[in-house]
């Protein structure tokens, strides 16, 4: 598994030595900053609830934008051929790329810490909710990124990869919004599958093993799919 490190390092490097990282982080901060400041004094509440509730939506676009190039670009330029003929397993490649995507997402979240600092200065926020809120965002972001890595293995075209990732995430996000019209026996299943439902739990300050298991299993599942998809060159 130590080959994960050079892959991770190269991808992080590729993000920060191209405009990519700066553009997505700027857009991310612009949106979250606006939601943070616009009702900070109106609501008169020392919490990051408005930011924490909008970030999951922003991530739906943000995560695919980060991940779309991870493998699509390698496939398009043909560098994938060199990479997979190196003494490195397909799983190491997938994990390295996943961690790099997650790394960029965490960097973006780190830049939102000034919001937390602001409310710490202005009031007395619930520290537990702040911490679990960030934990929830990272877990949720990681699961989005894993979907994106899988989508990126599917197509040479980055736009196609973006759209596939966006669709899968969007469905996982929306799945618990239609519970009212679903047959009752499906409700618990759909609720469990929903990314948003688990995030709601965590951001309330409740760390439940069921939510952790959900996110981790989604990540493992998606990365395994990505590995399979990368291996599909061997099937024909």
């Amino acid at each position: 598994m130590k080959k994960v490190i050079p892959i991770f390092r190269r991808e992080i490097f590729a993000y920060f030595f191209s405009p990519m990282a700066y553009i997505v982080i700027s857009v991310f901060l612009l949106l979250t900053g606006w939601f943070f400041t616009s009702d900070l004094f109106l609501a008169d509440e020392s919490s990051l609830r408005s930011v924490f509730s909008i970030i999951p939506f922003i991530f739906i676009f943000f995560a695919p934008a980060i991940t779309m190039r991870l493998l699509s670009e390698e496939r398009k330029s043909g560098t994938i051929e060199l990479l997979v003929t190196m003494p490195i397993t397909d799983m190491e490649i997938v994990i390295g790329k996943f961690l790099a995507g997650l790394g960029l997402l965490v960097v973006a979240l780190v830049f939102t810490l000034p919001y937390a600092l602001t409310i710490l200065i202005l009031g007395k926020p619930d520290m537990g909710m702040l911490v679990t809120g960030y934990l929830g965002l990272i877990l949720m972001g990681a699961s989005y990124i894993s979907v994106g890595v899988f989508a990126s293995t599917i197509s040479k075209n980055q736009v196609v990869s973006f759209i596939i990732a966006f669709m899968i995430i969007f469905i996982l996000f929306l799945i618990n919004k239609f519970l009212l019209v679903m047959p009752p026996y499906l409700v618990p299943v759909l609720q469990y599958l929903s990314i948003d439902y688990h995030f709601a739990n965590i951001s309330r300050g409740v760390i439940d093993s069921r939510d952790l298991v959900y996110y981790l299993s989604l990540i493992v599942f998606m990365l395994s799919l990505a590995k399979l998809s990368l291996e599909s060159r061997k099937w024909s």
Binding site: R9, S18, S77, L82
Partner: protein, 316 residues
């Protein structure tokens, strides 16, 4: 030693490589020759563990590609077609990255990097982005990347495509230099390249091996063979039958109508025959007229053409 036995590869229904077998001995520079789409790249992709064969076996010494992929990958240096590289990395960063992946560490790393930069003539380009390099330099970076871990086997897919004549000579010398100690397999569709660098050649066409031998033996085999080009005024449809009946004609290489009632016809002549007189008599007998008759020795280019042209059209 690399042993390839009954190797077959299907892409869906399409048979790209059809039951080929050959061995590559240690220290050999093998030219893997064939027209575009003959299955060269597919075969190399199977050798480098990019994808497994549909059928057949590839053995490196005593390791099978399916079972010992990781060990074999460590032994191989590979330059894929068109030298795919990361555009946004500098040469130095890229080679560092490859060292990481190949686990070249410590003092060894510096030594190998310096050696590769020197051998491949990259010292002036070391800080430049790969995307800004010319085709020739990219190819050199690709070769440096393939040799950095001192592989026992070097596999190069069309290493000189797109290079200018000076660069081609340089790369060939580089390959020869490496081939003194290592096994090299290089694919190409350029014949002079094989003559210049390889000591053995395997010619492949439509997924099948059509020739396998040293460059010398191949030339010898075909030496003395000649072709006769004729321009005849007469009945085109009958020509193939009339001339293939002549003793000493190996095969009709081509018949083409060149306007009016004249046709050009190319005959392959067996070793040691001079058929010009017989051709003359046969033509006169038919009441046709000879406009042109030209005899010339077959060179390697033509050997290649004869071997790889669609067989059906050639032998008719």
């Amino acid at each position: 030693m690399i042993k390839i036995e009954n190797l077959t590869k299907f892409y869906g229904d399409f048979k790209a490589v059809d039951n080929i077998s050959f061995t590559v001995n240690d220290g050999e520079i093998l030219g893997f020759l064939g027209p575009n789409g003959a299955g060269k790249t597919t075969t190399l992709k199977m050798l480098t563990c990019f994808m497994p064969p549909s059928d057949g076996r590839i053995m490196f010494n005593n390791l099978d590609v399916n079972e010992h992929s990781m060990e074999i990958r460590k032994m191989i240096g590979y330059l894929p077609e068109n030298a795919p590289l990361y555009e946004y990395m500098s040469v130095q960063e890229y080679l560092d990255y490859i060292c990481d992946l190949r686990e070249i560490t410590g003092p060894k790393r510096k030594e190998r990097l310096d050696k590769m930069i020197e051998t491949c003539g990259l010292s002036r380009m070391i800080g430049k982005d790969i995307g800004d390099l010319s085709k020739g330099y990219r190819q050199r970076v690709g070769i440096a990347q393939a040799m950095i871990h001192e592989p026992e086997i070097l596999i190069l897919d069309e290493p000189t495509v797109g290079l200018d004549p000076n660069q081609i000579v340089e790369i060939r010398n580089l390959i020869k230099q490496v081939g003194e100690k290592k096994t090299v397999i290089l694919s190409t569709h350029i014949l002079s390249e094989v003559e210049a660098t390889c000591n053995r050649v395997v010619i492949i066409s439509s997924g099948e091996i059509v020739a396998d031998g040293t460059t010398g033996s191949l030339q010898e085999k075909m030496a003395g063979q000649s072709t006769l080009t004729l321009e005849i005024k007469g009945n085109t449809a009958e020509m193939a039958d009339v001339y293939s009946a002549i003793k000493g004609v190996e095969k009709i290489l081509s018949v083409s109508s060149s306007g009016d009632s004249t046709s050009c016809i190319e005959l392959g002549v067996k070793h040691g025959f001079d058929i010009r007189e017989d051709v003359f008599r046969a033509t006169v007998e038919k009441g046709w007229v000879i406009y042109e008759m030209r005899q010339h020795k077959t060179n390697l280019e033509e050997v290649f053409r004869q071997l790889t042209l669609n067989q059906g059209a050639v032998t008719q």
